[in-house]
Symmetry: C2
Subunit: 385 residues, 2 copies
Amino acid sequence: MTVTAAKGFRAAGVAGGLKEDGREDIAVVVNDGPEYSAAAVTTSNRVYAAPVAWTRSAVSDGSLRAVVLNSGGANACTGEAGYADAVATAHLVARSLDVAAADVAVCSTGLIGQRLDMRAIRRGVGMALEALTDEGGKAAARAILTTDTVPKTAALTGDFTIGGMAKGAGMLAPQLATMLVVITTDASVSRETAQLALDAAVEMSFNRIDSDGCMSTNDTVILLANGASGYRPEPEEFTAALTRVAQDLAAQLIGDAEGASHDIAIEVTGASSQDAGLAVARAVARSNLLKAAIFGNDPNWGRVLASMGTVPQASAPFDPDAVDVIINGVTVCRNGGIGDPRENVNMDDRLVTIGIDLKAGAESVRVLTNDLTYDYVTENSAYSS
Amino acid sequence: MTVTAAKGFRAAGVAGGLKEDGREDIAVVVNDGPEYSAAAVTTSNRVYAAPVAWTRSAVSDGSLRAVVLNSGGANACTGEAGYADAVATAHLVARSLDVAAADVAVCSTGLIGQRLDMRAIRRGVGMALEALTDEGGKAAARAILTTDTVPKTAALTGDFTIGGMAKGAGMLAPQLATMLVVITTDASVSRETAQLALDAAVEMSFNRIDSDGCMSTNDTVILLANGASGYRPEPEEFTAALTRVAQDLAAQLIGDAEGASHDIAIEVTGASSQDAGLAVARAVARSNLLKAAIFGNDPNWGRVLASMGTVPQASAPFDPDAVDVIINGVTVCRNGGIGDPRENVNMDDRLVTIGIDLKAGAESVRVLTNDLTYDYVTENSAYSS
């Protein structure tokens, strides 16, 4: 159910001492071949962490042998010294595995603006390299957590296996979250197919969750493919399977978003294009007012319309006087005006589904978010990340 | 200190029964001339309330005789019937004052998606018209409040007087807030100057506050000018005075934003243009993560940089590795990296000043926002607006 579900991968998660409470904080994932195709999608934030800079360069040739990840420090906004720390971490792993440092990706998560404790990194990486096994995926998934309450893992098995782990709670945003994801597969996949498939899968999964509109400096999704199954899927088949695993992990991320009490699915139909539907869905997903109302079990459709109205006509053509809003099956707004009584809406379930029919085309889009709660404020005022 | 500070204006605020708790909910402001110049700025939301549609039309000739305002109902998303209610309200006032209905602006605030109680409107408007006096400005300022904790009024007197009242708490956004503002002056101002001056004043005041990124369906700022002072200021003089009054009211709005415990001033310097500085300031002002950290008295500069990084290079050219962040006078981030210790930052005062030096030009911009607190969640989950 994780990065060691597929054949030919080893992993480990250990406590190197970066986290003060003694939990696991260093993970290593190793691809034992025979192939080493790799792809990555990283944050679109202009302020990106040192390990992101390193990983972009390492994966640029479409090949990786290993990934080393740490929680307990983002190594972001740490200047040239921080970049040297990321490089040194890659070298530690490379030397032990007898591979090139340029084949080792590095991921970090935690507080921005502090140097990593390199003594703890060296100790932890050394321990992790000793502990590598083909059953180490669970420990690795624990080692990348910060404010997450549970590890997130997923896998899919058929002619080949895809397995993955994810970290993320809060800072979930449309262009990736404070989110580290490693997905491994024993399918035989070319470097080009790996990147195309990962781009497509990320677009339909991690880019469709939006917790609080904030985008991290460290977001990274990495795919490693080694062909150990001996099976070479068609690109479409592989992309579809990869997308399912990514969507599974994305749903777990939103389900564990900081302090949420309701998941909210925003389902836009009748959009003139995918982009138009996404623009509307994201505007609604980012309304603090709506998200606070949902926390209060108030199916406040006026706030849905008010958010939709902030999207420029050029981005999403629709007639405000034609729109329907359907909350948990009740059409509370019909043709932009008063629909069925909001009292009819049952808000008992954790999932709240907000349907929006734009009546402007045939495209549909689904974006996941969650409500705004006391716990969100607590976690993000008390935790420096 | 309010809409009756200037000569030749009468006002009233009464309880018509729209608010269940018996507080004032209907206000009328009347311009007794001799001139009737008027200007308005209304919401940029594509979903706008019936009274906004009416008011845009009423003010389009640059002239108004009166404004009628109600809290206890937004009359938004109420279709043609709701529009007829707004028109009927204007007619009620017009008939009593013996002016054209097209010279009466209408403003509403409250819950979206419900018809107004027109019996209460008729009763309240009738009472208000009876109660009009040149000392009614304070009662009028009370009658437009919703979740506000205090009325907001301001005035400036010299060769002429400008006075105003504002309503707004929460939903404060860069393109106007759930905000009703009426400003009156006894200066003699042409219709053209009135609109130009109001546009300029709004841009430097209400468009520079950003509480939660949500934009209302009902936002309206109205200026009435009657020349009763006999003084005709130069356009520049008038614009400067109007801007000061608008900034005074804007600061009061942000100070009373729902549940805030810290005001936050984001002061961007070294921007390549005003637009670039605004793009950066607003991205920072909208970071829930930063605003929750400030609530926790955590000068979390990493979240400042992470928000800045979401602004596209084309919108705001700057080098992330050159940026300084100064929180309450302490340069916590220097050249994009670690600066002075965050422990040095004193977070005791209500006002937190976040300076951002982009080192990319000579323009400066100041945007006001506030922190994200438990009370914000409480008010917006419990109050249907």
